[in-house]
Symmetry: C2
Subunit: 347 residues, 2 copies
């Protein structure tokens, strides 16, 4: 009880465990556990003694070992499946989720799937092997029914950005259809009839939704415009080429709706290269830094990824807290931001 020193003090290999701390402090393991977890019912003197020993050994609680034994069987861990942690939209969702989870001590595993349908399931399986307490997933595969049994085992799953197929679960998306319709209406309202739609892979659900919203609004205005639809554009180069082809063809469109961020960038490059940026109208889906600094400013339908992430995280936390209501579907409204490019009248 006087000085504290034993053979563990200056040890090199291996981390100290509670056993070491207990030995050094001259108490039982369980008492160390109580102190490290701030449980009540430990005499103040004992607590101080244990803390001193823990500090001396630089002992850190091993949460994994604790999780194994703990009765709630929670790992305080969450799986987040995204297109890519390197893309802006995903990054903002990630951050919102992290911010919602951090106060509860829940750590986030993020995984990039690159919208590859083949990679979704293995990535999710890897997360499940780590016994995450919940899952927030951007679906990339055509079907998520492989998760049905997990839902039955009470694993909370929330989908973001796209709706799942093959199972009923909470889901948070942008209003893709309405947003695209708003873009179409905006261009039509400025007098355009020859409007090109440039979109992403039609395997991607949001792309289909946007296509549909756009087409419906065009139809409502009596425009068919099938000839101006180009899809399956997944990167900015393909979009640039497609836009160039359209704009240099006979009967070019007077306006373009770019239904995805990379498509918008490609179209911007094409317009600039052809010197048409002040003559052909453009509305893009998804906002980007600097859109206001271009000449003309780029009119966009802005999504709100941080809201999507926050909502998804709140939903998941509610499920973790035992909420058992039936799955809900949240739609985050997008915002049309006029900056110039979308207000150019037809030639």
């Amino acid at each position: 009880m006087t000085t504290m020193s034993n053979r563990y003090t200056g040890s090199k290999p291996g981390r100290p465990t509670m056993k070491h701390v207990a030995a050094l402090a001259g108490v039982g393991i369980k008492t160390v556990s109580r102190v490290m977890n701030n449980e009540p019912g430990v005499a103040e003197a004992t607590r101080a003694q244990v803390l001193r020993a823990a500090e001396q050994l630089k002992y850190q609680l091993d949460v994994n070992a604790g999780n194994l034994r703990r009765s709630d069987r929670r790992t305080r861990t969450l799986g987040l499946v995204l297109p890519s942690v390197a893309n802006q939209f995903s990054g903002e969702i990630h951050r919102a989720v992290e911010d919602a989870m951090a106060p509860r001590g829940i750590a986030v595993f993020a995984s990039s799937v690159d919208d590859d349908p083949e990679r979704e399931q293995p990535v999710v399986a890897a997360l499940l092997q780590r016994r995450v307490d919940g899952l927030i997933v951007t679906p990339a595969a055509p079907d998520q029914s492989y998760l049905v049994s997990e839902l039955e085992h009470e694993l909370p799953v929330v989908f973001v950005d796209r709706e799942p197929v093959g199972l009923a679960a909470d889901c948070v998306t942008s209003d893709n259809r309405e947003g695209a319709a708003a873009a179409a209406a905006h261009l039509i309202g400025h007098g355009h009839r020859r409007i090109a739609y440039l979109g992403d892979l039609s395997t991607i659900q949001t792309a289909r939704e946007r296509r549909r919203g756009f087409a419906e609004e065009a139809a409502r205005a009596g425009i068919t415009g099938q000839t101006f639809t180009v899809e399956e554009l997944h990167d900015s180069r393909a979009a640039q080429e497609a836009a160039t082809r359209l704009l240099t063809g006979s009967e070019p469109p007077t306006a373009i709706f770019a239904a995805q961020i990379l498509v918008t960038l490609g179209v911007l490059r094409a317009l600039k290269e052809l010197g048409l940026q002040h003559r052909v109208a453009l509305v893009g889906f998804d906002d980007f830094e600097l859109a206001d600094l271009l000449d003309p400013g780029v009119t966009v339908v802005a999504q709100h990824p941080e809201q999507i992430g926050r909502l998804a995280a709140e939903r998941l936390l509610a499920r973790l807290d035992g909420q058992r209501s039936r799955p809900e579907r949240f739609v985050v409204p997008s915002t049309l931001i006029p900056r110039g490019s979308g207000e150019i009248p037809p030639a």
Copy 2:
């Protein structure tokens, strides 16, 4: 051995464990372990039997429980501490790290610290409690010596983007000094003498390095220019205000070096608002999407975050594989990309 059904088959609560699979397959637990880990020495028939049972119960190996017992004491987990997962630079590092780790089955915990010195240590502590196998850290605190004992316990730590203070460890950074010097030389070479330096918080190491590189190059050319130095600009609004103040003052600079991405954006806004974008030269540190689409295109010193991330990850993996050589310091060269704004001559 004929049909497979027992009370576990249709169970609702709780996940199946090896015990359940073993019971259903009619074998011992250890045999299930061998099969699930693809270990050799199991008869083909037994293996098939076990796999069938596992599939029927949808059993998934619990890697946390395994890690506890496994002799290498590895969690196959990595901690990544970044300014923010929502920022582009960090996101690309994150992705590079993820890509390097995924083939080895190592999952990544990413944490955002927002360059808040107070948050670094708690965030790292949380990761250590989860027993990550290694750490990749962007230092935000003025001192990292709190990690010394971890290094002694053989925990691999690699620092990225900034050098650590107070301990010797692997480190991967951009060539901040040289990059800033190159920017200064570029502007000087185009005839400028009145060059403003707008930089980030001087508590941030890279900001100080850039400041130094810029100042040294200016001094080499016989320019003192103290009056044009503005620091502590941590967001784009502050940068815009500072730039506006400089440009509307008496004796405005003929060129600006924006030493950080948000500063660059602020300066761009100021220049555009004042209609000076074709008259005042600008070089920014850090590249950004669309820099080529602005008018004029923005000349930048481009960093290469994906290389930084990849190098850091490789370093960490080498340490995990037992490399014990002394810590190394890697510098990833930046690239000056002329696009127009940096080639504007002085008025």
